[in-house]
């Protein structure tokens, strides 16, 4: 019989089965080391933050090109990290950089912007003969939105940023963030209905 002191009080499991808590290095320390070219610190920054940047990029530029743009984003992060002033949170700075890179990419392929993104999605779902699931429908409807509206919706609904944070990332006033989100939601509903969404 195990003595009560051998059990973890929170989980009730034996203490030795509980992994020791991970001690994570503060981001400002990682930034400081990265600025000196410390590759280990750069990798840690990448590991911590690539997920959110990639999520945003997939819906901004499409699955086909998201990885290429992500690579450009992090190369730029490490090239310009010494310009990060620390006035905003690192995450906000990274979202801004990611979004700017995505918008620049979209401008370059402007002529075929959403049709490319939507056809990319349609190709991915071409094997599905049955009605698209809600997630795929939303992805297709999102692809029809203008980039500014799409970015606002993703930053709010997926990345869970506040209006104030979205305002800093997109560099527009909070009132504009609110009107963009309102417009994005109205348009999404219309596009979803066109795609056969059954509310």
């Amino acid at each position: 019989m195990r003595a009560p002191s051998d059990l973890d009080l929170r989980t009730g499991r034996p203490s030795e089965e509980i992994a020791p808590p991970l001690i994570t290095e503060p981001i400002d320390s990682l930034i400081s080391r990265s600025c000196k070219g410390d590759r280990d610190a750069q990798q840690q920054i990448y590991e911590r933050h690539h997920g959110s940047a990639y999520r945003l990029l997939i819906r901004m530029v499409g699955h086909t090109d998201a990885a290429d743009v992500l690579q450009e984003v992090f190369l730029q992060v490490f090239r310009t990290l010494n310009q990060f002033s620390g006035k905003s949170q690192f995450e906000t700075w990274l979202y801004r950089l990611t979004l700017n890179q995505a918008l620049q990419y979209l401008r370059q392929r402007r002529r075929s912007r959403w049709t490319t993104l939507e056809s990319d999605l349609m190709d991915r779902h071409a094997d599905q003969t049955s009605r698209m699931e809600d997630k795929e429908l939303l992805e297709c409807a999102l692809a029809r939105l203008e980039p500014d509206l799409r970015a606002s919706f993703l930053l709010r609904e997926v990345e869970k940023l506040s209006y104030s944070e979205i305002s800093k990332v997109t560099e527009v006033p909070e009132g504009t963030v609110a009107s963009r989100l309102n417009r994005a939601r109205q348009l999404l509903k219309e596009h979803l209905m066109e795609l056969g969404w059954d509310q």
């Binding site: 990265s34 600025c35 000196k36 070219g37 590759r39 750069q42 990798q43 990448y46 590991e47 690539h50 997920g51 990639y54 999520r55 997939i58 819906r59 998201a66 990885a67 992500l70 690579q71 992090f74 190369l75 490490f78 090239r79 990290l81 010494n82 402007r110 809600d134 997630k135 429908l137 939303l138 992805e139 203008e146 500014d148 509206l149 919706f153 993703l154 709010r156 609904e157 997926v158 506040s162 209006y163 560099e171 527009v172 006033p173 009132g175 504009t176 609110a178 009107s179 963009r180 989100l181 309102n182 417009r183 939601r185 999404l188 509903k189 509310q199």
Partner: protein, 276 residues
């Protein structure tokens, strides 16, 4: 408050971004309005669907690709720490101080309100970005950015103390939508927005000062338009154009072509002649 005004607030209400008094007002309205209640339910469903977008990972070899690229680039991270001899350091400090003082004096001179060469360029690039998608949203962006307020042109004339080019209206094919008085970095600016009978929105800016207007990163072409030097920018099939007139600066956003810009220029000239 009419239902349409609540509709504009539903999205922020859903996000929990309204101040308490408005939140209560919207909640009361939604409880009594089936249409707004249905709209709110749709927003909730959209949020539910968006939760499933949280699922993607980049290719596993992404970091090694970045690592390789970083290795192939020259190291720019570490700045060499240069130690100066004390006498050189004092000279550097003295020179830097002198340069800083000259810089401050120059900025102060240029910013002095009575100085004739006062130049603070206005960048209309972000406005055009939004205008291309939603002209009316762009109006709100302008007012948010430049402490603007909606106004009537006649009321604006009293504040501006001059008669703007749009004071006697545009040709009949343009219907007036709204006007805003803006506090731009250079000066006050009247912006008036019109809807064409044939479709599309056109905005006319008039800056108090004959200053330079920027259009973001767009390529600017200099053309002769009706005998007047004009800067023109392509904006997704439409045009932005600006020209100097009587010591002020006129900018038109959303013109269909150079012909329309020329017609508007002539119209504004006629307005001036009638005024005299």
């Amino acid at each position: 408050m009419p239902c349409s005004e609540f509709t504009d607030l539903l999205s922020a209400f859903h996000d929990g971004e309204l101040p308490l008094d408005r939140k209560v007002a919207v909640a009361d309205h939604v409880a009594a309005c089936p249409a707004c209640s249905a709209k709110l339910l749709t927003y909730q469903k959209l949020s539910g669907m968006a939760a499933y977008l949280n699922d993607s990972l980049p290719p596993a070899n992404m970091w090694s690709n970045i690592d390789t690229k970083l290795n192939s680039q020259p190291a720019v991270f570490a700045q060499p720490a240069v130690k100066l001899q004390p006498w050189i350091a004092s000279k550097v400090v003295a020179t830097a101080t002198l340069v800083a003082m000259i810089g401050i004096a120059f900025v102060a001179y240029m910013a002095w309100p009575m100085h004739g060469d006062h130049h603070v360029a206005v960048n209309l690039g972000p406005f055009i970005d939004i205008f291309e998608r939603s002209p009316m949203e762009a109006q709100q962006h302008l007012r948010d950015t430049y402490s603007g307020q909606k106004t009537h042109i006649s009321a604006a004339m009293t504040q501006l103390k001059y008669s703007p080019v749009v004071a006697s209206g545009l040709p009949p094919e343009y219907a007036f939508e709204e006007a805003s008085l803006l506090q731009m970095p250079c000066c006050r600016c009247l912006e008036a927005c019109y809807r064409r009978a044939a479709g599309g929105v056109l905005c006319v800016f008039e800056h108090e000062r004959d200053d330079f207007v920027k259009f973001g990163e767009r390529e600017v072409s200099a053309i002769d338009c009706g005998g007047r030097p004009t800067r023109v920018v392509d904006m997704d099939g439409r045009l932005a154009a600006s020209w100097s007139k009587s010591g002020r600066f006129i900018t038109v956003i959303g013109a269909q072509d150079v012909g329309e810009v020329t017609r508007l220029m002539r119209h504004f000239e006629q307005h001036d002649q009638v005024k005299r």
